[in-house]
Amino acid sequence: MKAFADLFQTLDETSKTTLKINALAHYFKHADDKDRIWTIALFSGRRPKRAVTTAQLRAWAAERSGIEPWLFEECYPIVGDLAETISLVLPDASETSQASLTDWLKALAALASEPEEARKTFVLDAWDCLDGTERFLFNKLITGGFRVGVSQKLMTRALAAASGKDEAELAHRLMGDWTPLTTSYHALIEADDPASARSRPYPFYLASGLEGAAHDLGPVVDWHAEWKWDGIRGQVILRAGEVFVWSRGEELVSERFPEFNRLLDVLPEGTVLDGEILGWQDARPMPFAALQKRIGRKSVPTKLLREIPVVIYAYDLLEWRGEDIRAQPFEQRRAALVRALADLPETAPVHLSPEIKASDWNALAKSRSTARENSAEGLMLKRRTSPYLAGRKRGDWWKWKLDPLTIDAVMIYAQSGHGRRANLFTDYTFAVWSGNDLVPFTKAYSGLSDAEFGQITAWVRKNTLQRFGPVRAVAPEHVFEIAFEGIQASTRHKSGVALRFPRMLRWRRDKPVQEANTLDDLKEMLNLYG
């Protein structure tokens, strides 16, 4: 496993994407043939089945380390990672191992059918012949949660560099239900495969945030306005009897959204749509939280498909009947899109993202202010004459987002962060006034600078009123402006509200605690926007 551990170490020690790709490409050119295909499997989410439970691992690790189980459990949240905690508490290895990554993965695959005693012996022996990074990686493999900062996208770029193949084509090759046992590096990566070329998406055109005033953009009639949806930007490609779905990260996500296969029944081949993938219910978008349940899963259980059906809210047409029409003005592409989607059955998983018409900028600003009620984040403005460009090009496409909602709140609990923030108090609970009481209503973790987190950490240490395990009640002295994107009624929270994307906008050192907002203020927001 040495070669794989060295690769991991190099990837872990740099934050520079180019260095990561170089290291991966070097590995894919030179590593053992079997190890290469297993590595691709790991980095594309094809993880070995978990052969032991994490409860067993924790118990065995505490036992082997000679520490009490509670002490192990205290260490775990401070480290923030189970595989790492185990590798840190164990005594140094007394032997070394020459086994390769492939050897270990095969042994792990065979482990599932062994009795518990044999599994325990296997794990303890492994711990005793692996040290440092190798031991950490072994634990990652055995716990099944192999996420180590290498995305499939990054790996695909490295494979492109190593093999000379096109990146989009490789992304397609990596799809499907292959396993390291059913294919080889050569067959998967190097051999010819014409089907892959058909999946290729167009580079996304990205809008920029509007900084100045909208009326400075010129006559309103030059602009097409539509809602800015809060979903996943996606491209849906229909070619040669197949449907390919690409996310904005240029990740191929077809398998996660099987409903789009039905588009083949209603749209011609040679169609490429640009739009927003959204959860859809009762003829309107579902909150992003619903869609999130779909994103994380490679294969979607039927129940989830039924509960959270998705559609693409189409706002642009890039290819029509096999012809690339990106150079046409937006207005023309939009007209073609309207025609293409006219008369589709209501059940088709595609809808036209409606145009927001307005006679002047003031009227448009008024529409924008109702974005929240329309499940949108604001407006998109697109110049009617604009071609579909590649990447982020300023001038023709603008995001005109709503300002976040804000409230001034008092910090009442602090907790140290996980993993990389283990030695800082970064997770806070905030409260608003209800009479003379402070009622907690949200937690927030981000938005402050490292220097500010450092200062608050020092302050928390000296101003702890009470400890509840890892949580510290602190003196109610500091006011923070909390920004959030939405508010909903909640029965799970004492305050009766739940916020979307809460974060600290700034530390209001100028504000005395008495001047923080009240629960009534929050409830009023709920009435307006909930």
């Binding site: 872990d12 020690e13 740099t14 934050s15 380390s65 520490i67 009490e68 509670w70 002490l71 192990f72 205290e74 260490c75 401070i78 480290v79 923030g80 990672d81 790492e84 905690t85 840190l88 508490v89 950490f136 996980h418 993993g419 990389r420 923030r421 283990a422 030695n423 800082l424 490292d450 220097a451 987190f453 450092g454 200062q455 950490t457 020092a458 240490r461 000296k462 702890t464 400890r467």
Partner: protein, 345 residues
Amino acid sequence: MPRYNRHMAHEPLITFTDRGMYCARAQVYMDPWKPVARALITHGHADHAREGHAHYMCTKSAAPIMRHRLGSIDLQEVEYGEKIVINGVEISFHPAGHVIGSAQIRLAYKGEVWVISGDYKVEHDGIGEPFEPVRCTHFVTECTFGLPIFKWAPQARVAAQINDWWRINANAGVHSIIGAYSLGKAQRILSLLEPGIGPILTHGAIEASNAVLRGQGITLPQTTLITPDFDHTSQNGAMVLAPPAALGSKWAAKFGAHSSGFASGWMRLRGVRRRRALERGFVMSDHADWEGLLHAIALTNAENIYVTHGYTDIFARHLKSAGYNAAIVETAFDGEDTALESKAI
């Protein structure tokens, strides 16, 4: 008439006050954090040696740094092991192995013996005075790294890692910038570098400490101070010693392409390493690791252990389960390792 428990009839020799640890009989405070008349100081780090006391006492080898940091103070210097008696209380300083001049302070009166450890480590670093266990009945210990996940490799192994890293960078013609606390860690690393690999450059904050230590007769490899008019391309492949906050700063960017590393006990945690976007983390601390703490505590023979400075609740719970009378003491120590993320240059 209040009923006295015989045990409670006399106050303990040391009490914990809002100014710091206090011996009422001798009228001395140990590492106080608010101004007092008489302060006994374990070592010269800023969270232990504060400004504003009327009278200070520390070891002879800690004195130069104290004067450098605090200016002209009324300072009494003592030798390690020298006995000073104040109102019957026997006071002495014993090596803590933390940084040069650092001490554990022993206070004894009628069989009650307290040792205030300050910060300490048990492995000899070859530059400071090696840690000496002191028997006592009450031991006040830090526990910055009081969890079993913290284990230090022998110093020689970490030294080899640092030199290997430097050699590879030097061969590639890029600078190695290593972050280390200005007093203690920086000089420890300096003494471990192989000067044959290349030149050694220092940030002003570190060079100031170097000058003080050289002035008291400690030998350190030759270093070049980086001044504002320094030509950053003149010594490619050099090792650069800088305070932690200088890593990733404009000051570091002037060296062009470089590799950055940081030497601290926190580098044991992958999350901390990654948070600072460091290429290399070297696990090296001037505090004791888990085994070191437990070993040091056992050697004191004390039954009463007071823990401060770190993962106090977890560490105290463990000590209790191991049969000690352990209690947590809240202090205002917020030192070079606890304040890792907020320390300014």
